[in-house]
Symmetry: C2
Subunit: 191 residues, 2 copies
């Protein structure tokens, strides 16, 4: 039963981190407060000293989840922008990403539920998507800015869609075919 202010801030982050993972794994309504608190080593009662409501936690957890995969790819990237594009496509469409939605892209894991969320949550997501598109455009070859942006939008759509299909499909072979095929064609698009 730690009670210092520093402890509380750490506890808060821990709850958000756990929620950020579990919500991507099980959907925005898949886990209850009691279970999340238990995973953080706490009990239900303490929850409302940290968040005004379950909904507030969801918004915070989604915010924390959104930029994660991009930061990871950028951090690991070493070569030029073309190499980073290749890395983005291969990492995003990897079997590891498919099998671990909890640490992956929040949009492919929660797209449908985000579309049904309130304005505040969707505004958050909109900003992130805007950034993602600009980031991908900056990795694309050619000097025509408009063409790069268009290709970036197609790339992002194909990434999100291919991951959605690969996760929905129960046939491992078909799932792998989807990931590989889309990765190859996207890399051609940028060569």
């Amino acid at each position: 039963m730690g009670h210092s202010k520093a402890e509380k801030a750490k506890t808060h982050k821990r709850i958000v981190g756990i929620a950020s993972k579990r919500l991507r794994e099980e959907g925005l309504e898949g886990v209850g407060i009691a279970e999340l608190m238990k995973e953080a080593g706490l009990t239900v009662g303490g929850f409302y000293k940290h968040f005004g409501s379950r909904h507030d936690l969801v918004a915070e957890a989604l915010d924390a989840a959104l930029g994660g995969w991009k930061r990871r790819i950028n951090a690991a990237a070493s070569g030029g922008s073309a190499a980073t594009y290749t890395r983005l496509v291969d990492d995003y469409l990897s079997e590891a990403h498919r099998d671990h939605p909890g640490t992956g892209c929040a949009i492919s894991a929660l797209g449908g539920e985000i579309a049904r969320s309130d304005e505040r949550t969707r505004a958050l997501v909109t900003g992130q998507i805007r950034n993602d598109i600009q980031w991908i455009a900056s990795l694309i070859r050619g000097r025509n800015k408009n063409a790069a942006r268009s290709k970036a939008i197609l790339t992002f759509s194909a990434l999100v869609g291919a991951m959605g299909l690969a996760r929905a499909v129960s046939d491992e072979k078909l799932s792998r075919e989807i990931l590989k095929t889309v990765a190859e064609l996207l890399k051609e698009l940028n060569s």
Copy 2:
């Protein structure tokens, strides 16, 4: 209070039809049995003479929902396969489709939740996705069968992903840009 066998079959279909729409609109867990039955002009009690459980209804409703948009596009298509491809892309990425998930593609509306569903549901979806890919491949130009299949997979991924992004985004302008851009580039891909 109709009670004939013929009436019951009609009632069954009506419930499935309503569920098929409402589940696409509000997610697989978004609507309760009582509300669905009320929309069908019935009450909760009768539900279990039609379905073993809520889960059974969800499976049936999803099955009914899956092929809908494809049938509609095929029915409306008149020209050759290239014209049908154009029609597919334009219809799928229309603002009408974006704004009416209840009558649209179940995969773009429910992708994330399907990935979390049980094996039986996912097997159903897998078969449908396999068909969709073959159908799209048959609409693609060129005599190389493997290349057509690859392009079909990219097309389907981009359609599903673009619709997911367009629905998630709360900025109407960005949403429209995503739909238009992906539609244009996909049509180029098949020209």
